[in-house]
Amino acid sequence: MSPKTLYDKIWDAHVAHEADDGTCLLYIDRHLVHEVTSPQAFEGLRMAGRSVRAPDKTIAVPDHNVPTTLDRANAATMTEDSRIQVEALDKNAKDFGIHYYPVSDIRQGIVHIVGPEQGWTLPGMTVVCGDSHTATHGAFGALAHGIGTSEVEHVLATQTLIQKKSKNMKVEITGKLRPGVTAKDITLSVIGETGTAGGTGYVIEYCGEAIRDLSMEGRMTVCNMAIEGGARAGLIAPDEKTYEYVMGRPHAPKGAAWEAALAWWKTLYSDDDAHWDKVVTIKGEDIAPVVTWGTSPEDVLPITANVPSASDFTGGKVGAAQRSLDYMGLTPGMPLSEVEIDTVFIGSCTNGRIEDLRAAAAVLKGRKIKEGLRAMVVPGSGLVRAQAEEEGLADIFKEAGFEWRLAGCSMCLAMNPDQLSEGERCASTSNRNFEGRQGYKGRTHLMSPAMAAAAAVTGKLTDVREMM
């Protein structure tokens, strides 16, 4: 048998039909659904008189629109169009008989946090969702990617996707990370290296000692941003940490089924002599705590660097860099560590898990946020929130001056009441620093939870290593 990559193995195990030209019907094991990208798909089903083919494999949760303030049970906290979208999901979940976690359920949260938490995401699966950050689930060795609404409808109706195979790319992070460097720094540094289009047409497998050393939460952070690097999906081969995380989750297999699953999962790795179309290697020790300075996730620099000038770039990037600098209101040559911020946002599907909250709380313990700053923590799910309260993290955040919110996407994309105002500058643990992403003319600097916590204390972009 010819050697295969992990991606090849998962792909081969899910081809339900292959046409002569290589177009495949890929069978989908898990379909996650949220309120923003699904209403038109369900409407399409209704109009064609179709049903959901595998409601048991379809899981829905509202997250993008839902307010995260404590009074959200009060309907008035949502704008009318948001409420209509959430109500449409309520109704569609009920009418089509799919698994559902409504806003009132403690298990509600960001779809990419709820899926793994409930054991829906398992190694070797194909997982899709009408959301680009579906790549997150690749941390389990699942082939997971975002799809558009027409494809959502296609999966609902047929449990398959029309696909052609992507190319294989290996991103190896060798050796150990230095203190203060986290999964977020890895994933941002990879994008800084390859660019936002570097992964286009590829599925990335992340490997190497520094990746193996990461917890499952850290691995999810890395895979989450594969999409910002242009890749369709990111993958990490499952190992003991994966099995341990999965075991005992509500929808994970039990007993004999667990043993059978485990036996198959253990075959899921890239063979030694497998073929890679592209290989990127980064030394773990070369990665520093980083922040973004511009309006593309590839605009990454170590916190110790200075703001670049447009002339540092070439080609179309010169104009883009100038536009970014103007938008971000930054002067070339200024040390990044002198950039003052107005707001801190800790949360999102990139960094809204328990470990992220622990890392931020470790920095904040016994400290206060800079006066006048707006700071909020938005746990990724109701269960993350409950656990953080149990571990005493919530008290640390509150004592430091952070708002302690309910679960949702919140200020990651500002479709809900949490938004930046014009010119407001935010240290954010989310994944996109696009113009207007967190609010009209809002300015976003992406970073790790520990770095965001450090920034909250000083009121400036800050090297967390100085506070450790």
Partner: protein, 201 residues
């Protein structure tokens, strides 16, 4: 789905790299449960000021380009989220074809599901088309899907690649779901096999 065969129309130049889905249709317009009506908000934050007045510098507000049917743009067009609202807004505005050196993957796929043809061409060729587009309303470009060519107003022609299955569906205006359901028996038997081999799924 609307068919795409051949189109001759005005091309609007947008020489920016990394035009992301938040630029194409900002998130406040995703709160719809319909597919239609998004065209007025295409590129909203560049096109209008806060009060909703048109920004006269923005290309689609200029008289020459108000009826553009083709967009010529920089590298990595459509990066960002999976929102199909982006192609819905483009289509609703009246644009049927986007030409760029490269596209983000999900956006590229989404175009084909909505009767829009995305064309990736080498940078030098896009540069030529960009120049042609900058001539304004007098410069009509022709996109021929059957022949797989783009022709400038001066008659210079470039060939482009497109997946044969996607081309077929776009030219015929075919509905993917209907096509897939014709293969329902293959899905049934696959489901039965994995049900036995991987019962935990």
């Amino acid at each position: 789905m609307e068919k795409f065969e051949k189109l001759t129309g005005i091309a609007a130049p947008m020489p920016l790299v990394n035009i992301d889905t938040d630029m194409i249709i900002p998130k406040q317009f995703l709160k719809t449960i319909k597919r239609s009506g998004l065209g007025v908000n295409l590129f909203d934050e560049m096109r209008y000021d806060r009060q909703g007045n048109e920004n006269p510098d923005f290309v689609l507000n200029q008289p020459a380009y108000r009826d553009a049917e083709i967009l010529v743009a920089g590298d990595n067009f459509g990066c960002g989220s999976s929102r199909e609202h982006a192609p819905w807004a483009i289509k609703d505005f009246g644009i049927r074809c986007v030409i760029a050196p490269s596209f983000a993957d999900i956006f590229y796929n989404n175009c084909f599901k909505n009767g829009i043809l995305p064309i990736a061409l080498p940078q030098e060729q896009v540069d030529v088309l960009m120049k042609d587009a900058e001539k304004g309303a007098n410069a009509r470009m022709t996109v021929d899907l059957e022949a797989q060519t783009v022709t400038t107003s001066d008659g210079e022609s470039f060939a482009f690649e497109v997946d044969s299955f996607k081309k077929h569906c776009l030219m015929e205006g075919l509905d993917d779901i209907g096509l897939t359901l014709e293969k329902a028996s293959a899905i049934d038997s696959f489901e039965a096999t994995i049900g036995a081999e991987r019962p935990w799924v």
